[in-house]
């Protein structure tokens, strides 16, 4: 059973064993509007928690996506390059941005679980 954790900046990490799928939340894609381009990093790069992992662009905004946890990038989601609209359709599923090998599973503890995040978003009005 995959576990999903969120940041206050609306990134998520879906954990599957020692692999993490990083992306932006459903709420974040709604706020951004139609995503037109995704700038992805190269595989092999090491990310520390809080590093810029990707950039998601809509027509009106470019949003830097910061790594919710540290780890080495195993793969970037190349499918998004041809079809950035996937981020609007399935942000927390098939439209993950980067896959990392988690450096420290302990970092997950500082993040919100789905319920806490839902409450957090509700609080934003």
């Amino acid at each position: 059973m995959a576990e999903v954790r969120y940041t206050e900046d609306h990134e998520y990490v879906r954990v599957d064993g020692d692999t993490g799928f990083i992306g932006i939340s459903k709420y974040a894609q709604e706020q951004l509007g139609d995503v037109v381009y995704v700038e992805l990093p190269d595989a092999g790069k090491a990310l520390a928690k809080g590093d810029e992992a990707a950039v998601v662009e809509s027509v009106k905004a470019a949003a830097e996506v910061y790594a919710p946890v540290g780890g080495e990038i195993v793969e970037a989601n190349g499918e998004l390059e041809g079809n950035p609209g996937m981020v609007n359709q399935d942000p927390e599923g098939s439209a993950w941005l980067v896959k990392v090998k988690l450096a420290d599973a302990g970092e997950l503890g500082a993040l919100m679980d789905a319920d806490a995040y839902a409450k957090f978003v509700e609080g934003l009005g």
Binding site: D9, A28, V36, S58, A63
Partner: protein
Amino acid sequence: MSMNREGRPTAPAATGGGKPPTFTGNRALQIEEPLLFETGSLEKTGVDLPEPAKHESRLGGLERQGGTGLAGLTEPQTMRHYVRLSQKNYAIDTGFYPLGSCTMKHNPRLNEVMARLPGFGDVHPLQPERTVQGALALMDMLSHWLLELTGMAGVALSPKAGAHGELCGMAAIKAAHDAKGEKRSTVLVPESAHGTNPATAALLGYKVTSIPARDNGTVSVDAMRAALSGEVAGIMLTNPNTCGLFEPDIVEIAEAVHDAGAYFYCDGANFNAIVGRARPGDLGVDCMHINLHKTFSTPHGGGGPGSGPVVFSEAILPYAPVPFVKRNGEGLSLVEHEGDAGDAKPFGRQSAFHGQMGMFVRTMAYMLSHGSDGMRQASEDAVLNANYLRARLRDVMTQPFGDQICMHEVLFDDTFLTDSGVTTLDFAKALIDEGFHPMTVYFPLVAHGAMLVEPTESETKEALDQFIAVLRDLAKAAKAGDAERFTGAPRYAPRARLDETRAAREPRLRWTPETQAEAAE
């Protein structure tokens, strides 16, 4: 992640038509015009050039193979193509253009005629100096006028536009620190700044620290003091600021900046509000660019060319870039190389040649026409017009920082549209249907759903009264729940709302024969 939450739909909903289509797609005076490449051909040309004399090629075997693919038009076709295209543009000459921060004022045609005098328009930048003494004299005269109006010590005329001027001023500031052996890392920029300010600072390798505005939309000297340190190279402050307000603490801010060993870069985009009323030199400014196309009305031409001379204080002037004009006995000469600058230490060169001469001539024609008295009156009328709009609209529209006297532009936010289903963008598009160019929208970012209105001094009271009546009617309609009038707008423009999402997702940035074939299918 960092996010811009400013809502603005970028893919339109269908308008539902409303008017029966025509066979051609034309609508009387609005005639659809295909692309040049769809109407022109490779054989056609609109010039009659003689047959070249027989000559042996010296191209060294590098002759271009095959055609260029460039479509040609005969002269009557050219005329019709571009005249029809022009008719799809809004312009100051056709109507009120209250685009905040952009200063769309009347463009006198005398200025165009002067710039086209052969002695200015048909002179090469590398002619021997003795054959261009009049051009150098014009640059010298322009410098004198700019320095009198700003109270500064010297000027670099060469920057090609405002942002280029910013880079010039900040590079000179960096050079001044370098000359003192100081390495400073940070530049302070208020939240309300133009996007060019942080972009310029970053290009020079500075970290940008944002200074929050206080409740009334201006920067406090305390906020500035709190951010200042030995790491701060300078501040970049727009005055009057992008909310249309004069920074009342500016003199104290300048003192605090100088006390910290930093310099004060003033973004002069809004200098047009205070010409003849205050001089940046008296306010403690070290560098300021002047957008000649805004303040002194050289035409905007659908996005340039601009011109952005920078004025300097005594402290920064030695680091100003080449080229510059200097007196040389009886005549004038150009200093074109850093090595010829004497005691000065120019930071380098920003562009080929000597700057936007065509804009200098237009500016000089504007200044001579207005004179000292006319320029002061122009600033006063610009400020009067903005405040008149504010006074007549304050009961139906909302201002983010309360109702206070503004300078040459007045800032509204979208609070008055709350729960109406109408966004700032919708509101702007409805103005198009009423025959006005919209105000600047979603800038500055410090106001939610910002609408920045700059009427300029060129408008009559009657034109302002009509604009006021329209805005009042629109505000009333929005509050009354007539959202459809807004969300479907514009209905009467050459195009309905355009799909920006599609343009960005599948960028199509040029015509190709293949795309044409595809479209024909």
